[in-house]
């Protein structure tokens, strides 16, 4: 595993590091967003600082996503082409697992643009789009687990587990704090936070952690990618 990983190009390293950092930053952004929405009252910092951190870390996430995408496209090992960075599921290389990342990026871009324009859009339309971030996070996670070069490293697995644990804990904290009303929304959140860890564990055990995943990752794509 180590020798295999060391043969990649510098671009490939940069892409992996950028992707992993982007996932960590996105996780932090999501948790801070949940904390703001749940009216967290931190003792040592002001509440406005949660909001400012949420914004700044989200912008940093986008910076690392740009690094991740640009280096992946420029890397000569897989010939991806620039369209892959915005059009999901059209890649020649593992279309499904790559496409999840592209779909997540598209959602995050929509969230970023609407946030910049939130005064013009109004709070309802802005927030409606903002909720897409909750979809982008699992997409990013499954993209990383499904096609990440480092998925089988124990440290990387702990990192995924840490990200998952933090977000699940944050959602549950928010659910505990939530008052009555919005039953459908709270049920969806509870079901999703229960389902994502279960599905992820089952997927890891049956897919990326089994031998021969690199071939199967490509063939899953063939199966689901419309006979490419």
């Amino acid at each position: 595993m180590t020798t295999l990983a060391l043969t990649g190009s510098p671009l490939w390293y940069a892409s992996r590091a950028g992707g992993t950092l982007a996932l960590l930053l996105l996780t932090a952004t999501v948790v801070l967003g949940i904390a703001s929405g749940g009216r967290a009252r931190p003792r040592r910092i002001g509440r406005f600082e949660l909001g400012v951190l949420h914004r700044n870390l989200s912008l940093l996430t986008l910076v690392f996503l740009v690094v991740h995408v640009v280096t992946a496209v420029l890397d000569p090992f897989v010939h991806l082409g620039w369209a892959v960075s915005v059009v999901p599921f059209g890649a020649s290389y593992r279309p499904l697992w790559l496409g999840l990342g592209t779909a997540g990026l598209d959602l995050l871009l929509a969230v970023a643009v609407t946030s910049a324009l939130r005064r013009r859009l109004g709070v309802r339309r802005w927030k409606a789009v903002h909720w897409l971030a909750y979809a982008a996070w699992p997409l990013a996670l499954f993209h990383g687990v499904g096609t990440g070069t480092d998925t089988r490293l124990p440290l990387q697995l702990w990192l995924y587990a840490g990200c998952l644990g933090t977000v699940v804990a944050a959602v549950w904290w928010r659910l505990v704090k939530a008052g009555p009303g919005r039953v459908a929304g709270r049920l969806t959140a509870a079901v999703a936070t229960t389902a994502v860890p279960v599905v992820l564990t089952a997927f890891l055990a049956s897919g990326p952690l089994q031998p021969g995943w690199s071939q199967r990752a490509a063939s899953t794509a063939v199966l689901l990618g419309g006979g490419r």
């Binding site: 002001g46 406005f48 909001g51 005064r119 709070v123």
Partner: protein
């Protein structure tokens, strides 16, 4: 002709999160339920940047600044 900038709270949108008072305590107090009370609606020049940050921080976009020509 001078331009003054004034603060305005949209009372219907405001949910009393209180972030504005953290960022602009010079002009905004909170009542006992956490809703903002404007001490002065006119934003002095030295507080313009702070007012802008307070407006940007409002999670429900209920704080506004208006440019009035007088």
């Amino acid at each position: 002709m001078s331009r003054t900038r004034t603060l305005r709270v949209d009372r219907i949108a405001c949910t009393g999160q209180g972030l504005c008072a953290e960022l602009l305590p010079e002009l905004i107090d909170l009542d006992e339920w956490g809703y903002p009370v404007l001490k002065d609606t006119t934003v002095p020049d030295r507080l313009r940047a702070h007012a802008r940050r307070a407006v940007a921080a409002c999670p429900v976009l209920a704080l506004h600044t208006d440019d009035d020509r007088t």
